[in-house]
Symmetry: D2
């Protein structure tokens, strides 16, 4: 069967997912589009999905009988109501990050889905679908013994003026928060943030870089350097230290050259290139599960835990090096 | 539009391409299947394409009005007649290697396609679609200056008893023959084969390893080590030396580990894993072109040149280190 | 001139330094030997320095007129009195780690040397002479911009039962404490120790691994993983994050092999092999300065600062993740 | 005992060896100096060896009773007579490359030494003392099985106008000729030279690059790329393919940096930096053997074989891709 998909929000990521469904992946087609700016929706329709219907309101798209499953790619504040509406309609829904703008909002989604009794929500944590992380998880699970420590880094060459210190957590660390839980099959119990001196390129209101230290329920100690003015490139590092050895996330594929008295290979500079392949894989996972009327991959519970953890990390930014405790409510059986 | 595809030959590769079209790629569906063993075709139908029609004869599949394009995955000796039939029917056809079992056979296909006047044939040289080779070509075209030398290696851990010395060319080197022409945008003018002592693991009738030396029209000197009893793994190496520097084919993505007093990462041992992703990309290219009624990627001319070059290399295996000349007829305008 | 050297302590390291002077390095000869066990001294005399005089007491060796300079390689508790005696005699003295067993003892040496008014003491922090660290310092000084963070690791495959938690500082981290100050040209202002769960191979009384976090006067944030039951090898890692980029300590020279389905190179397992070349260089530096009647390289001030820092780190091991302040007295002009 | 050394030829390399003996290495001193330009000898005396005697004639230096051993660092054409004189005097002699300017000249030295009956001559093939090659030899001897093929490269960024095609053998390949025989413990039986098109930066009279193919008595096939206008750096590569796996010469130690959107480390550009450490080791080997009245390391037989092989390679440059046979006379028992 072909999964008939409605896309809410047709900005950069909504357009890109539409292209993916129409031109790259088997098993689905975009039958409905919606955007707060209807012209944007119509432009995507014209370019990529001429047979799709354009809806003024996302709620109507969700309710439309020809729509089997929904992609929520609209602005963050609208995620919660759209996802709740999809759950109410019993339709699988893929929601880009964040699942909700507050932990409480994410909790409402978890509760609604748990009440519905079947998984319907996939959150857009695409790193779990990256071939490098997938291979790293296999190495962690089978080669290096039980994990004890993690050393990670998330570096951007630069950020705009409006990027403030808490965004280092909500927009940047959020990916490590999710993917490290998944890699370790573990939960966080505390967060601590340590600041070196501010980088010269960090703009006035931003404290950058910082090191976030997370502790897990199993006693793993994680340090993540966040450095969003590192200048040299977009660079994601992750090293897992286990009882028997160490496994490291691969560098992105690159051509090694001998040139200009340097043995060199390019480092990416645009974050959009780093995990580009994983978007195909995550959407394929969504389509395959949606064809069965359910969802797989990162769940609303994962989105909720990420929100709680983020809040603790932001609090820790103001705690002068003290650890901030992280506690989770009981996990509903649906997410075990 | 959805391209309706007929698959001739439903062995390992035919089944795999059917899965790809049905489950992975957008824009096509398998509507017809054929195999010299009809039960095999019906098994693939049952597993992957229930709506497809099974034809006893490949010729009937090619002629069937519901079939827009053809995949030839049958045994090598049947490739030529099926491809010629597809050209006669004016339908795009993807043909697995070899295009024909002789250079003359390949020439007949070139002539038929040139007479038809539009490209219809894509040959299954999948390495051109491998992300590593694609990036290497970009580096060759823009970073290291004009190429002067190539050092390459094609190593298998082991081969069966029936693998004889000429198969090192026809089954193994054939990939380098095609992909290096494409990388260099050049043609071969001579081939030479040099043999070191035979490896201890090489079986009685096989002279392994060997070094094939190719010279191109632009004066590039290429050495390719073929070693099909290298024992340690399946390993493809390629290094291009240009006027300004050197570019190297990336190693396959792998997790680097510190384990057992070794800094180590796995090397593949099964050739099927090495270029697995490129099959998706090559078939996607076929589907996109077929939707326009034509073909792109490696052409029948490329298949023909590969056949001529292979024949010269096999002759060079018996020439005691002498160079064997390679000359090509004029290239039809269709392939410029 | 040939520097005439007396060696106090003829155990493993004293014997090795004697061999170095007699057989490897130009410009010096061992003319006197002493050990609390005179037979040990005589054995070294017989094997390596037949012309040397054996002294029962180190003090007599220091006072002997034919001795120009002294190597203190005896047990730790004797370092302070021997070094003070050498200063009193106005003779250059190379002292293996630790300079003294307490910070106060090191301070007495600093005071004596400062009062003498000329540098006479070199402390055996050999990493400053390692070619890798020397090259790293050059990169830090000229390529990557001002340092902001350091990520380091010091891993041993295993330790004996008598190795207790504070020894992770006094015997292990001590090398990072000195070499990172030197690399950064900076001083520490606080130390913090974080413990993940204990490694399964860590014996009963030892808390291993641990992460020591140091902050410097210039605001650099340093994390050093100490893991002395890492099992896989002896491994020293150091990465400096600067304003413009990152520089990494090289791995030890090793042969990369393709073997057994692994791209692999050996990791050392014995710490004695890791910095073996740097002992030659440090002693050469001592000889060259001693020929001028003075000392260069790591000073008694450096030994004193290392002692103060170590004490703070040990205190931090018991401080439950709190930062322990490190404050230094004014640096005597002699050490600027 | 201290070996008293006389140095003939006080140009760059003679001066550098004098410094090494006087300031770096134990066990020797320079007691005599000679140069065709006596002022040059006196300058080295003043700078490095004030106690040395300056001789007008090399022959007198060799005969001088206070001289135990000789270093021949003079111009190539004088090597043969000086080495023969040293043998006649029964004194160990270290001779820089070439041992003689002709194979016949080298043969006369071999004959004289064999007649003398004890090894006295060490030839300055320093690569055998390079830590990388030493480790590679250990891997070849114990890890990768019997060698079957070698892929090597010798690249210089540029060469002066007076560097002509045969110098690619006599001055450049000569190092591979010696070190590969030693690595493989084997002898050459044929040489072949293949030329790609000329590099754009190659000056008018020079055919550059070239690939030299050597075959050994044990059946190993060696290809060595010589490219002396490679522009990007000075780069020596060597990979040995054995029955069980592959071992690769390490890259020189370098700091890996992340900088300017590149993961990069410097490549050397000056050949003098590449094997600088090995000069210390080779001279130390000479001193230790000379103290016993003999010589070790690369022998006059090795120098002779290198000369014969070089001549064959130069002949092969003119043989249009044909193999030129290499045959050696019987090896005197002294060199077994």
């Amino acid at each position: 069967m072909t999964v008939r998909i409605g896309v809410i929000g047709t900005g950069m990521i909504g357009r890109d997912h539409t292209r993916r469904i129409q031109q790259v992946l088997a098993g689905a087609e975009v039958v409905a589009l919606s955007d707060y700016n209807p012209d944007a929706a119509r432009a995507v329709q014209a370019d990529l999905a001429p047979a799709a219907q354009v809806y003024e309101k996302g709620e109507d798209l969700i309710a439309a009988p020809e729509v089997d499953a929904i992609l929520v790619c609209s602005t963050g504040a609208t995620h919660e109501p759209y996802v709740l509406a999809a759950i109410a309609a019993g339709k699988p829904v893929f929601c880009e990050k964040p699942l909700a703008t507050t932990a409480d909002g994410a909790k409402r989604i978890v509760d609604a889905e748990a009440a519905f009794g079947r998984r319907l929500v996939q959150v857009g944590f695409m790193r779990r679908y990256d071939a490098g992380y997938v291979a790293l998880k296999a190495a962690v699970d089978s080669q290096i013994g039980a994990p004890i420590m993690v050393h990670a880094a998330h570096r951007n060459p630069t950020v705009p003026e409006h990027y403030l210190t808490p965004m280092a957590i909500h927009d940047t660390l959020i990916h490590e928060i999710d993917v490290l839980r998944w890699l370790l099959n573990d939960d966080y119990v505390s967060a601590r943030v340590l600041f070196p001196r501010k980088a010269a390129r960090s703009h006035g209101k931003l404290r950058d870089p910082q090191v976030v230290v997370l502790e897990t329920a199993k006693g793993v100690l994680i340090d993540v350097e966040i450095f969003v003015n590192c200048h040299y490139g977009y660079d994601i590092q992750c090293e897992i230290v286990g009882e028997d050895g160490i496994a490291k996330l691969p560098e992105p594929m690159a051509i090694q050259m001998r040139l200009d008295a340097k043995l060199q290979n390019p480092i990416l500079t645009d974050w959009k290139d780093r995990f580009v392949d994983s978007y195909d894989v995550e959407l394929n996972d969504f389509i395959k599960a949606a064809a069965q009327g359910t969802a797989a991959g990162p769940s609303s519970w994962d989105g909720y835990v990420a929100a709680i953890t983020s809040d603790a990390c932001v609090a820790a930014q103001e705690a002068d090096g003290e650890a901030v405790a992280i506690s989770l409510p009981a996990r509903p059986a649906l997410y075990n």
